[in-house]
């Protein structure tokens, strides 16, 4: 009930290794669409490795907090009940959506998440480019309500692992579109390519973990458009492969901004990425607005569909 009997991520690690090799080899023999650049791949994989070390350093705190909250739970939910697994599947996925949206829309949490988006490539190694500072950012606290509700800590940990493993395989250009029913319900390579794209219309879209229905429900869904090929990376791409800069550059940026204008500390920390007191920098919203005016001469819908694109 407290410690998980297995860790889905650890179990999936050989699968990660084999499928990265498979993607590279298939691309090499031109049977799959994938691009790998050596330094970029090294950064992605070492960020993944560092993330597991950083995660281990803060695991004790996260574990202790989860246990403490669970000891004060409202209900006692059995780990053996099928309904309980169905419930945690939905609630954990909704929690992930909230976490992910927060991680993109508020700078302090973006600072922890940005490195996952910092590659100009989109391949299976990009999935492993994980944060080193998630524990410090404290977003793990978003999962505490599940323990308070009564889900056992082991159950939460297993479901979080399942979600992470699910999200691995969607980091690929090798798979184009899946059957319509699947694209309608689940997060897919196509939906997640949009999420990793830096094109203005794709910014801050498709936050889903496993179920894309949350994005459809909360108005953040954007389909991939043939007329707008995804360009991957950040609005301002990194010009370095230095791991420390990749991991900490946004934290350094926040610190520099606070040092320069301390009275705007709340805006620098909790404003959207790109926020500035005088509006001289670009946020996702301002970039979207400018792009829509440039294309059509007036503001277009925030979410484009293939139909509106053609219109």
């Amino acid at each position: 009930m407290i410690t998980p009997a297995f860790d889905p991520v650890t179990l999936a690690t050989p699968f990660f290794i084999v499928t990265v090799i498979l993607e590279i080899v298939l691309a090499r023999v031109r049977m799959a669409d994938a691009r790998y650049e050596t330094n970029d791949t090294a950064v992605s994989l070492f960020m993944g490795l560092g993330s597991s070390v950083a995660g281990a350093l803060t695991a004790g705190l996260v574990f202790a907090a989860t246990i403490w909250v669970w000891q004060h739970r409202i209900f006692t939910i059995p780990m053996t009940a099928i309904w309980a697994w169905a419930a945690i599947f939905l609630l954990e996925d909704l929690t992930y959506y909230a976490f992910h949206r927060l991680s993109h829309e508020r700078r302090v949490w973006w600072a922890a998440h940005v490195n996952h988006h910092s590659s100009q490539h989109y391949n299976l190694s990009t999935a492993l480019r994980q944060t080193w500072t998630g524990g410090v950012a404290g977003t793990w606290a978003l999962w505490l309500p599940l323990a308070f509700f009564g889900f056992p800590p082991a159950m939460i940990a297993i479901q979080k692992g399942i979600s992470l493993v699910y999200q691995y395989w969607i980091h690929t250009e090798a798979i184009k579109k899946l059957p319509r029913w699947f694209e309608a319900v689940f997060n897919t390579p196509s939906h997640h390519r949009v999420h990793h794209a830096r094109n203005a219309i794709y910014l801050d879209r498709n936050y889903a973990g496993i179920l894309i229905v949350w994005d459809r429900l909360f108005g953040t869904f954007q389909p991939e458009l043939d007329a707008e090929p995804c360009r991957y990376g950040l609005v301002h791409n990194l010009a370095t492969f230095n791991l420390l800069r990749v991991a900490f550059h946004e934290w350094i940026g926040i610190a520099a901004d606070i040092a320069r204008a301390p009275r705007h500390v709340l805006g620098w920390v909790f404003g959207p990425p790109g926020w500035s007191p005088d509006g001289s920098r670009d946020t996702s919203a301002s970039l979207k607005q400018r792009a829509s005016v440039r294309v059509s001469g007036h503001a277009r819908p925030t979410v484009l569909t293939p139909q509106t694109e053609e219109a």
Partner: protein, 133 residues
């Protein structure tokens, strides 16, 4: 952290080494040739849409470019098989260190600390009138 964690870490490190080696062997990066003026202008239009480029200088090795746009310098530098762009005040670009045919531009950004652009000379001698401002 227990012994098993460190064994797992060591194995993962070895696996990373193997994967990076395979990625290097495969040679499947993007086919990004040297930057020329049309490519640099297209890239600047993509990165700084609608921004007028007054003048542009392309690195001799095709790995970067510097452009003047009003009071700003638009800098392009190569990162792997892609490019990164930044804008800085034009006087900052003019004051950049130039030595042995390499312009070292401090971009003042933790994510893009320095751009190194191979140019025949710097600052440009052909700037006149408004361009020199």
């Amino acid at each position: 952290m227990n012994g098993a964690f460190f064994v797992q870490l060591a194995l993962s490190t070895a696996a990373v080494g193997v994967l990076v080696g395979i990625a290097a062997w495969a040679k499947i990066s993007r086919p990004a040739g040297p930057l020329d003026e049309p490519k640099a202008r297209a890239l600047l239009e993509q990165e700084f849409p609608g921004r007028k480029v007054d003048a542009i200088w392309i690195a001799a090795d095709g790995c970067g470019a510097m452009a003047k746009s009003g009071g700003l310098a638009l800098v392009i530098c190569r990162v792997g098989d892609g490019f990164a762009c930044r804008q800085i005040p034009w006087p900052q670009a003019v004051a950049a260190t130039f030595k042995d045919g390499r312009l070292r531009v401090n971009l003042g950004d933790a994510a893009a600390p320095t751009a190194i652009i191979s140019l025949p000379s710097w600052p440009p001698e052909n700037l006149k009138g408004d361009l020199a401002a």
